[in-house]
Each structure stands twice: as structure tokens, then as C-alpha cells.
Symmetry: C2
Subunit: 288 residues, 2 copies
């Protein structure tokens, strides 16, 4: 994908720690991809242990950050959709146990869009390969630009500038955009960015950047801290159509992306395994 001279220049610009992070991410990604290719049928009942002297692959695990917002009826939701409703079904004093039912949209709170959300032949959420739910995390920070232009979109330039600093996007990674928008989630009007005409305003991905990722890189999922991977004013949602149409997942309404490093973390996507669902509320954790 890159001429050796380009790679050398990229590596020369990395600190030793960045390089170690990057290698760890690549190592794990490569191993998971290799396992995926080697074992097309579902995991065998009793996978044999690796030979005792084979090198063991590992994930850095010094830190954990919860990238999930707390979901309540007050959490912002796409216009026209209804927030979660909890109904108490069982009370501790009366019934011995406390329990509720939820009436909940698949796209409320920190949630996942499965390919089927926007693609006729796309996988529903329970069919996403679990190996694509534990992957290296790359974080592109556009907060500075968002402060000037809330409708700004991630461009190919942003991605190339990131790679110049941190190395190529790890194979099999999830790519997150830290726009700082999660701080607005306490105020639905600010989070949607609605103007007088009802048009929404918040940042997202540009279709060209997403085409670049689809054709030039191996990224399994996109993560944004806004309500949509398309920018707020979008009318036809080209990024959803391109990305989900290519069989990839997207996470919307992530939190605290400013607390994870640009490269070197692993993200766990705790997607619900509900049959035929278009997505659903998730638990999203970063570890590094």
C-alpha cells in the first residue's frame, strides 16, 4: 500500500512508544485476521492450545475507559423517534426481585448500526463476526476544526495527516472520530444542533474519506460521538449507504474519545445479539 521510502519516513516520525503501540495493534489484528481466515467454520468445540513455545499474542491492558453514555429517557434521540421507556414489572419489597421491561429503539444512546440498517442484503446485528467486535482502535481528533465549523467532515487529508504522525491505520481496526460532541449530550437541542429550519448540525465523515477507507484501508467499523456518521445537514446519508452497504458496522453517540490514545488501544464493542435487529444499544469499552 505504501512505497518503502514512504513507510520509512512515517516510522522516522514516530516516538518509540507510538511504534510499540502500533506494532502491538498490528500484531493482534494480524493474528485475529489469520485466525478468521484459518477457521471459516465456527470456532471448534475444543481449540487445541498453541505449542508452549509459540509466541503469545496480547493486548495492552493498563487502562480502561468506558466510551458509553448512560442511557435514560432524557438522552437525545433522532427526531421523530421516541426515547426508552422503562416499566417496572417486579418490585423488590413486593415480589422479592426488582426488574423492568424496556420499550427501546435500536438506535438510542451509544448504539451500533448493523449493515442491515441501510443495506437490503446487509447483516443484522447478531450476524456480525465477534472477531470484528474486539479490534484495535484508532482515534482521529478534529475538535479544533469543529469549534469553528460544527458541520465539518473528516477528509482524506485528515486521515493521511493522522497516518503521517501515527503510522498506517492498523489492519482490522475501528476508526473513531473525536469531535468533542459528547459533551453536548446533556442537552438534546445542542446535541442535535437543530436550527430554526429544523436542519441538524454536527460533524461526521465525508463520503470521499469513507470511499478511501473502503478501498485503501482495512477498517471494520466507524465510531462517532455524534448522532450520525453522516454530517448533521445531510439529506441522503451517503456515508451510511456506502459504509453499511459494504458490510461494515458503525457506532454512534460514543463518549469520552478524548480519553483514549490516538493509537494503541483495543475497543470492545458489546453489541446485543438480538436476532434480526438493525443494531442496538451497546457497551463500548477501550483498553490499552
Amino acid at each position: 500500500m505504501c512505497a518503502p521510502s514512504v513507510l520509512a519516513a512515517v516510522w522516522a516520525g514516530l516516538t518509540r512508544r507510538d511504534a510499540m503501540h502500533y506494532l502491538a495493534g498490528m500484531y493482534v489484528a494480524g493474528r485475529l485476521v489469520a485466525n478468521a481466515e484459518a477457521s471459516q467454520p465456527p470456532p471448534v468445540r475444543s481449540p487445541g492450545p498453541p505449542p508452549t513455545d509459540a509466541p503469545r499474542r496480547s493486548l495492552p491492558a493498563d487502562h480502561i475507559v468506558d466510551l458509553t453514555h448512560t442511557l435514560s429517557p432524557r438522552f437525545p434521540i433522532w427526531p421523530g423517534n421516541e426515547p426508552i421507556v422503562l416499566k417496572v414489572k417486579s418490585q423488590l419489597q413486593r415480589d422479592g426481585f426488582y426488574a423492568n421491561r424496556w420499550d427501546i429503539s435500536e438506535h438510542h444512546g451509544t448504539h451500533l448500526d448493523a449493515p442491515a440498517h441501510a443495506a437490503a442484503d446487509g447483516a443484522t446485528v447478531e450476524k456480525i463476526d465477534p472477531r470484528h467486535l474486539v479490534v484495535p482502535l484508532a482515534v482521529v481528533d478534529i475538535r479544533e476544526r469543529v469549534a469553528r465549523d460544527p458541520d465539518t467532515a473528516v477528509t482524506i487529508d485528515d486521515l493521511q495527516r493522522w497516518e503521517k504522525r501515527h503510522g498506517p491505520l492498523p489492519a482490522g481496526c475501528a476508526l473513531a472520530v473525536c469531535s468533542g460532541w459528547d459533551a453536548k449530550a446533556i442537552d438534546a437541542k445542542a446535541f442535535l444542533g437543530s436550527d430554526a429550519s429544523g436542519t441538524l448540525h454536527f460533524p461526521g465523515f465525508s463520503p470521499r474519506a469513507v470511499e478511501f477507507l473502503l478501498h485503501e484501508r482495512q477498517v471494520v467499523g466507524l465510531i462517532v460521538d455524534t448522532l450520525s456518521i453522516d454530517i448533521g445537514p445531510s439529506r441522503d446519508f451517503p456515508v451510511h449507504k456506502l459504509w453499511l452497504g459494504a458490510g461494515k458496522w458503525a457506532v454512534e453517540c460514543a463518549a469520552r474519545l478524548d480519553q483514549v490514545p490516538p493509537v494503541g488501544a483495543t475497543v470492545f464493542v458489546g453489541a446485543p445479539k438480538v436476532a434480526t435487529a438493525s443494531g442496538g444499544p451497546i457497551r463500548l469499552l477501550a483498553l490499552w
Copy 2:
């Protein structure tokens, strides 16, 4: 907790691979606990990187197994509760996107019981410390005994026999019981084990084993492949009351515990972060 001579005897019985697994698990658990103690306020906004020559903690990551059942209206549920209902709210051809709402019990499918499910002052699901959702996994296999007695319960003897073979339960681990019951989930009657009188039959934990774990070991969660951490015939659910009452979590209806090693894996508990919930459907993944 153990005299040096006991520890030496335990170590002598371990293979090199078991010992490495165990050390890795302890290392990570120790680090997470140390971090938890060191950072009582929520994680700082921009945690400083560790010094470049500090040893890096890591999780083994050669294998991934999905411990989650697919949740559909056919999945068994506790008697008297109603299964999940999906309502299509948006259709791809008509509306541009496919999406549903769910009407769902917090205790359907592979799910988590938060302390508040059985304890008046217990944490609701969103308040569980995320550091307790990515932890070493220990698996006790009781399949042989279950074949003879479906109402069998895990005893202190089972735990001590396990420790003799695999070393002390890792500090901060989740303890899973592999009873083989997950294979029955395709048939609700078999999974509940109801007899003519309506009494349920399936294995679980004994109250004494749970008291031993609470007082003698540091375990953050229990995982079972049946509908309850109490055995099927239980009328008063002492294990729920003891365990959740002590502020711990439990996972019920896990799958494929026979596919993970007794020690050395990490479990990721993708619990939903729904405010005031008593639990909820989860994604449960094991990595090692």
C-alpha cells in the same frame, strides 16, 4: 491466604502453560485493582502515558469465543415473564432505513443481574464499575455430575479441587460454571427442566460455596449457563440474595463455556448502561 508450602504444592502441579496463563491473569487483575485504588475519582481526562521503560501489562489474545446466545422470541425465559417482541418502526424500501423497537425484559437471553435485582441498596446496572466488566475468567466444569443429577450445585469441594489443579482463583476474576446446560436452550421445556408439579430442575451454586467465595476469595461475578445462579428447585433464592446482596454481578444463560480454558481467558461483559436498570441483555466474549 495460603501457606507457602501449599502454594508450592499447587505450583508443582501446574503445567508451564497453566502457570503462564495464571500469571498473566494475576498480573492484569493486580494492575486493574491497583489502578482502581490509585484513581478513585473517574479516569483523568488525559491520562499520562506510562514511562517508556515501565513493563506493559497485557491480555492474551490468540482466541475469541462468543459466550452469548442469540436472543429471539423463542429463547427460554423465566416462567411468567414474556419474551422479547420486535416491532418494525422503519422499513428500508419505504423509509430508507431498517429499524425496530424492542419490548424486552431485563432478564431474557444471555443477561446480567445487577446487585439491585435482589438488594435494596444494590447498584443498578449503569453503576457497575467498568473495571469489573473486563476480568480474568475461571471456569469450573461440572458436566459429568450434571449428567447424573440435574439439580446439582457447585460446592466448596469443587472450588478447592479446581484450585489444586489450576492454582488459586485469580483476584478480581469472574467464576463461570460449565454445566453443559446451554445445549438445551433450543427447547424451552428442557432448559427450564419443569416437572409435572411445575418445579424447575437445573444446576447452580450452593449457598455455602458462594459464602466461601465472598469471604475467602476475590471474585467480582458469577457466570452460569442456566436460567439462575440458584439451582432450579430453589424457592427462596439464597444465592441471589447472598451474591447480589454483597454488591456483585451475575450472568445467566451464558453459552459455549466448554470452549474456553479453565484459566487464562479474559471475559468481556458488554452490559447495557441503562439508567436504573436491574440488569439487561449483554454481549459476553472470552479472549485468550
